[in-house]
Point group: none
Chain length 126, copies 2
């Protein structure tokens, strides 16, 4: 049985869909034209606009490009957030995501950073 998207998710999908539709209309494009630009099928564009599916990252990027809308705009509509501690997190995030560092080095720098900042480190969730 279809595990329908949880009620919460569904309204987000509908919001995102409405947004896509309004941007498409603003750009004076038909669903087919947008489909062609994004290399998607036109019924799928229709489905997205009605909030029937959660698009993948790949699709979101294509849509953002075709509609001249920054990707974050759409992403933020799927699952809330934008965390308030962004400043503090950004240094730890940079360290964690840095391909120049080995895991041990990351751990070391995070430890040091933690010590410097009094261990008031991130708390993205909860």
């Amino acid at each position: 049985m279809s595990k329908a998207p949880s009620a919460n998710d569904r309204s987000q999908l509908i919001d995102l869909g409405s947004f896509i539709r309004s941007q498409r209309n603003l750009a004076k494009l038909s669903q087919r034209e947008l489909a062609k630009l994004t290399k998607l099928s036109d019924p799928y564009v229709s489905q997205l606009e009605r909030g029937l599916h959660e698009p993948s990252v790949r699709v979101i990027r294509a849509l953002g490009k075709a509609l001249n809308v920054p990707v974050e705009t759409m992403l933020s509509m799927l699952g809330e957030e934008v965390d308030p501690d962004a400043e503090v997190i950004s240094t730890t995030a940079a360290i964690k995501g840095d391909p120049e560092l080995t895991d041990a080095q990351k751990a070391a720098m995070l430890e040091i950073y933690d010590g410097f900042t009094g261990g008031k480190r991130s708390r993205t969730s909860e």
Copy 2:
């Protein structure tokens, strides 16, 4: 006729997977523990780490939360190319701009970072 992910995508998936694995190890979590935190199945975590699938936005958010990594970090690994210097710059930039650190602490961390990366820091600023 499985439409395998285009070679380009595949390497991005592998990069993302490796990143997830390294973050999980840093956090000293098993795949099962991470799976529980993110409400995913453990084989799926395994598959993600090996770059076998492109996770949805929902999954990326869950992973970011559980691993204390901002979502954009992972999203950026899926989309576009990433300027090789960009990462290096971003870590030093993050440290330099971090309001939580004193000047002396910044200097210390930059020194350490320099040592770790062999001092190949680029001439972005200064």
